[in-house]
Homo-oligomer: 352 residues x 2
């Protein structure tokens, strides 16, 4: 069994994953907010402890930025860890088995390729669209790591160089700056969206969830991108005790709210443009899309397909298919385990 | 010695390339215009014939679109070849040695990685900016072929989704549609550029070269892209007997012509944006830029660097370097030979 670990800003998960990718057992713990490095480490160590004896290897997915393959992590939404040597600490805890670590968005892409919607694809981009926009690239049937472990940063492909919003990465016009959940919500509110109005749920303003963005894995996108400013974007546009979510926005779009529909259309088209660019550059055949926003359905995927087909016109690019991610909450654990369970498909042959 | 062949719309070249990449001997012939498939083939066969006895392998770069690895070619600017089985015909002519073929833009990238400006880079995009905009990707130290042989199509990364010009590929807002030589010239003329006016060369209008675009390798960009419409773009904006070139445009920009400078700036920024996107997606460390327009100097490269640094802000992306291509006219031959001379670096280990 592989001990798989998924470290995020709101929760940590650990599980035992069988060689076929089945999650045999899993545990979760809230990520302590505002905790220092050692407190965070103790929570994680406590979480994995009951599973440790069965571990023949340890695979970890963690929010970025991080160094790879060294595995020093500085997750944007875990301020207590800055340059924390997570891979080395786990290696010390599990001295007799291999420990491997990658960006959590990369692990989700790996999971979809190994056991999800991308099975059998030779050239795939696995995306996650949620609080951030991230991804991982499988090329020629293998994970592309990149020399610094940062390949797959689809969230920072530029989709609107002229007029695009500023991005958490310091640039502007990135896909993530346009299409991440909090950006969509902020944009819609600016345009006069009244959450729940179309559905006749007048009380919706007070009733929506407190959590930022949508449910589903919260995936900051690697180095310097992602989540930073998410709360700010929301809070700046809407009273703090009435935080609204991209889930609400998607529901309103499906119910016919014109502003919510335009917001989803804006994100969908941006995704389609970025996917066309990635397809041309990397000769891709499959794109999988997971993360909370991927559950938005037609209001997002319709405009996405429209823009993709407008831009991907050459013969080789027309074959690309966009598929919803097939794995659910456990995808992060499955992908982390696959770093060890799939030979050198998702980890360099010369062990890094 | 490897027999290297470089097939373009205006000329065909063949040479003998030594294992160290030195071109020992080379020959050129004009590509017969308007010729049928067999006439074209006879010219090529005649060109290589004097070099044939020394050939221990045959490497070919050819304008796209083409099928890969089958090597059936339909170069945009060689209308007589449509689905012409160039690799098979050469294999029949050289039955005892391996014959390998790739897109000419890919061969130029390979050449720069093997013996040019990109030597030692693990993750490189080799670009050519000329009549078309094309490229090839070296990732993890090896050429990325893509399943259909079309990886590296940087010319069709979208840089202006909202308002970009239509592209020969059928899309719009592609880098190539903005930054290829003829598009630049057409744009400048529309904006009131008077070729040579700033330099005081009043006679320049009648004196400039007839050939489209700039000197240097004419590289259509793979499937469906590239050159188509180049003449049309020029001719629509300027009388046919007064065709002006991007070389002239670059000279005028260097001489301080404000419209020419804006045209170069437009192309340079588009290149910078596309390079930032590619860097984020593929974790690149080096970009090489060849082709005629790459000789435009500061008016192109200044705005390119400016836009790149604006958009590539994350730590890993800041390391990317943009370098002028180091090899000259023989780059195409050197790259074609490298398909055979560099082990499986530029050709699949399981021979395709």
């Amino acid at each position: 069994m592989i001990l798989a670990i998924d470290v995020g800003g709101t929760k940590m998960a650990a599980g035992l994953v069988a060689p076929d990718g089945t999650v045999a057992e899993s545990r979760r713990a809230a990520t302590p907010q505002g905790a220092d490095a050692e407190t965070l480490w103790r929570v994680l160590a406590g979480l994995v402890s009951p599973l440790a004896s069965a571990a023949e290897g340890v695979g970890v997915g963690c929010g970025g930025p991080l160094t790879w393959p060294a595995g020093e992590v500085s997750p944007l939404n875990i301020p207590g860890w800055r340059g924390f040597p997570l891979r080395a600490r786990l290696a010390a805890l599990f001295p007799s088995v291999p420990v491997r670590l990658h960006n959590d968005a990369v692990c989700l892409a790996v999971a979809e390729h190994w056991r999800g919607a991308g099975q059998g694809s030779g050239d795939m981009l696995g995306m996650v669209v949620s609080t951030g926009v991230g991804g991982g690239l499988i090329l020629g049937g293998r994970l592309l790591h990149g020399r610094t472990g940062n390949a797959g940063h689809i969230g920072h492909v530029v989709v609107d160089a002229a007029g695009g919003p500023r991005c958490g990465c310091g640039g502007h016009g990135c896909l993530e700056a346009v299409a991440r959940g909090p950006a969509l919500v902020a944009w819609a509110l600016e345009q006069g969206w009244e959450p729940g109005a179309v559905a006749g749920r007048a009380a919706a303003r007070g009733a929506v969830a407190r959590d930022v963005a949508m449910a589903g894995p919260v995936v900051p996108c690697g180095v310097g991108g992602g989540v930073a400013g998410g709360g700010a974007a929301l809070n700046g546009a809407y009273a703090e005790d009435r935080v609204v979510t991209a889930r609400q926005l998607a529901a309103d779009a499906r119910a016919g709210d014109p502003v919510a529909s335009r917001a989803m259309r804006r994100a969908g088209r941006a995704l389609g443009v970025a996917i066309a660019s990635a397809t041309h550059l990397c000769d891709l055949d499959v794109i999988t899309i997971g993360g909370g926003l991927s559950q938005a359905g037609e209001p997002l995927f319709g405009p996405l397909e429209e823009a993709l087909r407008e831009h991907a016109r050459m013969g080789f690019a027309r074959r690309v298919k966009v598929l919803p991610a097939a794995l659910g909450q456990e995808a992060g654990l499955i992908g982390a385990a696959a770093l060890l369970l799939a030979g050198d498909t998702y980890w360099p042959a010369r062990d890094a």
